[in-house]
Symmetry: C2
Subunit: 242 residues, 2 copies
Amino acid sequence: MTYCVAVRVDSGLVFLSDTRTNAGVDNISTFRKMHVWEQPGDRVIVLMSAGNLATTQAVVSLLDERTKAVADRSPTLYEAPSMFQTARLVGNTVREVIQSSVPAGQRADSYFNASFILGGQIKGSEPRLFMIYPEGNFIESTDDTPFFQIGETKYGRPIIVRAYDRQMSFEEAAKLLLVSFDSTAKANLSVGLPLDLLFYEAGSLQVGLKRRISYDDPYYRVVSDGWSTALKQAFKSLPDFQ
Amino acid sequence: MTYCVAVRVDSGLVFLSDTRTNAGVDNISTFRKMHVWEQPGDRVIVLMSAGNLATTQAVVSLLDERTKAVADRSPTLYEAPSMFQTARLVGNTVREVIQSSVPAGQRADSYFNASFILGGQIKGSEPRLFMIYPEGNFIESTDDTPFFQIGETKYGRPIIVRAYDRQMSFEEAAKLLLVSFDSTAKANLSVGLPLDLLFYEAGSLQVGLKRRISYDDPYYRVVSDGWSTALKQAFKSLPDFQ
């Protein structure tokens, strides 16, 4: 499994991804699941992936190669005129890769499936956030549903649903995603540190903070230990059943 | 789906189950998922079920009928000498029912599957708590894992893992299970009120409190509204990312 989550706030986009991959609990590895393409002043594109690692790596590599050999294949990530077209480009690449792995025809429920969160901004339009399915189609976040999760989505969802506020600062949003991650990692072994955290400030057209967070990160320790205590306190504050 | 949860505390056992069943989101109904067999002074047996409703109802009906026609089939729930033997009896009945639905041989991953939480006490031994799988085999709770969940287990797990304490009173344990339920019901439409709550006091050999909790239950409203506020407060109490 995997846990990646991205949230839209008024000031921009915040992304968080874990790095654990596994082929069974007895075979785990660390791989980056957050990929960034940046042309300062023109566009920032962030792609996070969950699912079959061969598929997600192939999708990322194809997207990346094609930005370097524009003559062969166009448009590339650096040429797409909008985030919507970027999402279509990624979706088509996902479809292409899965199809090549499943000769009998693409099956989204197959072992080769993968899903993606795509976010970013291209000059001349607003920051946008998409979730791309293994079938290559996708949905865009709206004010009603301003965040997307992929991988192990359940454990970490209740806190996001309850504590999200679109006026959150980047610092608060990062705290929210780290709390959500911590609940997930404590319950599902296939989700694990280190994490990749990225801030994108609306209108900046360049990557803001980009940091890898490991087990010994002091802030992560504060969140992980502090959240248990805060949760117990919150629980105590409710009146007992009568 | 379904959400049933039972927890062992020093003072006894606490059970909570929802009542929603569905055959698609456009076809939901209310069915009791908590079943109790009681012979005051001798035994209390509580069985909660998740999965295919035809299977779980058949299992409960068979167990129940056989307590009334002892000559035909023995031992019955009222005769089993221990909770372990009771769990075997339930497990065998599950196997029997699923096998009869799947003529080609029992398949636990089939559409007919169901799982159960069994708890209670028989005179002469301690209260015990079991989880029974569709295959008919089962596990027993221990001090390390003093609770079992069936159905939609993920959303409501983090709070139990963090706030459980074996010295909890029944009132605190009921609060814990209701908070856990509330997180689940807010995230999964296939889990819904009314709820069935039951306390079993260790050594009493009779059912303690047994209550149905509906949407307009004042305590449920306090927990449901209060937990959102308490969670936001807990979240605020953590320092922001720096």
